[in-house]
């Protein structure tokens, strides 16, 4: 099951990478970043049973790997990050919020909507932490 999820996430990230037209030599790498991010998400959501915190860890993973790859291959970091971030965006949360709104189940809508909002916030905070980390490391290295 784990391996299956990983392969699916790998191919999915590569597909998103081509949709956003990333350089041809980076397709496999960004697929790898996306697969790692989804793996972290999958593992944590099984252990903690919480969408928000597992999305946060997945976003941090994608961010850190993206920054590392960007440093190593001398390419903009967004190339490796965007295909990995897209699977984490709460499309399902948005859909279920709308579904409950249409069904006039407002409790459920508030529930799902809040979760979708906080998942998006978790992605943002994960990205902020990883990028800030990499920039401060860069600054320290430049000084030394």
């Amino acid at each position: 099951m784990m391996l299956k999820q990983m392969i699916f996430a790998f191919i999915s990230s590569m597909g998103f990478a081509i949709l956003y037209s990333i350089p041809k030599d980076s397709i496999l790498r960004s697929g790898f970043v996306g697969a790692m991010g989804w793996m972290v998400y999958y593992k944590f959501s099984h252990i903690l049973n919480d969408n928000i915190i597992s999305t946060f860890f997945a976003a941090v993973t994608v961010g850190v790997l993206g920054e590392l790859f960007a440093r190593y291959y001398k390419k903009p970091a967004t190339i490796f990050m965007i295909p990995g971030i897209i699977p984490l965006v709460p499309g399902a949360g948005m859909y279920y919020t709308m579904l409950s709104l249409v069904e006039k189940d407002f409790n459920m809508a508030a529930n799902k909507g809040t979760e979708a909002f906080f998942v998006a916030a978790a992605i943002s905070i994960g990205l902020i932490i990883s990028t800030t980390l990499s920039r401060s490391i860069k600054r320290v290295k430049n000084k030394g």
């Binding site: 999820q5 699916f8 990333i22 350089p23 967004t78 190339i79 971030i85 965006v89 990205l127 990028t131």
Partner: protein, 263 residues
């Protein structure tokens, strides 16, 4: 030598133009604003005699000025970002590094930049085919069956082709995503009705994945951290409105479906 003296007035103007064009190319294809600012400043400062160079970039416009021989030159360009092409950002990044570190002439630089602008990494149909493949595999991640996989592939392929057509006509992103999400839901309902797909939820979720504002979220956060709060805010707004457009598109169709308008 005489040539050099005559060109003295023209050269800094051309340099600034080159820098601004590089920045605009980046911004147009979905780069972060701090990257565009950085590129412009680097290109300007790479040549001798430039005392001062500064750039202010927002997602919709570029201001840049440089000082040469005590004279200030300022340019302003309006930018309309249309598409996301990460390959071009990477190429301009490489170009600026080359330009700064070598003795490339400005005309040569302008020529190369124009060439980069025309590069099409993948054909539109290839992008649509692989983008819908990504969506289809996403349905498997959400526990869809093989039939769901096939139907979400078909649905998202049609949606992506339509979105590409709409982008050519320069329709605003809000309407673009709204139409895309509505079409995705209609086709998903249709595919379940025809007996191709099984789980309507999974198919719709997978098909709207190609529309979600992942790039806007990423860029918004990266801009905010580097202190460009203006761009950070405007990109956050773009992400919020994209999400709203998708939600409305899905919601309208679902509403009609539950009320029995669509059967």
């Amino acid at each position: 030598m005489v040539q050099n003296l005559q060109n003295n007035e023209i050269q800094p103007k051309k340099l600034l133009l080159l820098a601004i064009l590089a920045g605009r190319t980046m911004l147009k294809n979905g780069a972060e604003t701090y990257r565009a600012e950085d590129t412009i400043e680097r290109i300007c400062k790479s040549r001798k005699g430039i005392q001062h160079a500064d750039a202010f970039v927002t997602p919709t416009g570029i201001f840049a000025s440089l000082e040469y021989n005590g004279e200030m030159i300022t340019y302003f360009i309006r930018v309309k970002s249309s598409k996301i092409d990460l390959n071009i950002i990477s190429l301009v990044n490489e170009f600026s590094r080359q330009f700064v570190n070598s003795n490339m002439s400005i005309d040569e630089g302008l020529k190369r930049l124009k060439h980069i602008n025309k590069i099409n990494n993948y054909k539109t149909i290839t992008r649509s085919l692989f983008g819908s493949l990504a969506c289809a595999f996403f349905s498997l991640l959400f526990g869809g069956t093989l039939m769901d996989f096939i139907s979400s592939y078909m649905v998202s392929l049609i949606v992506l082709i339509l979105i590409n057509k709409l982008t050519e006509y320069k329709i605003t992103f809000f309407l673009n995503k709204f139409i895309g999400a509505a079409l995705a839901s209609i086709l998903s309902i249709l595919s379940v009705r025809l007996g191709i797909g099984k789980n309507m939820d999974t198919i719709i979720i997978a098909s709207i994945m190609s529309l979600v504002p992942g790039v806007a979220i990423t860029n918004a956060m990266r801009d905010t951290i580097s202190g460009d709060f203006l761009s950070g805010l405007s990109r956050t707004l773009e992400a919020i409105f994209s999400a709203l457009a998708i939600a409305f598109g899905v919601g309208v169709v679902l509403n009609m479906y539950f009320k029995g308008v669509i059967r």
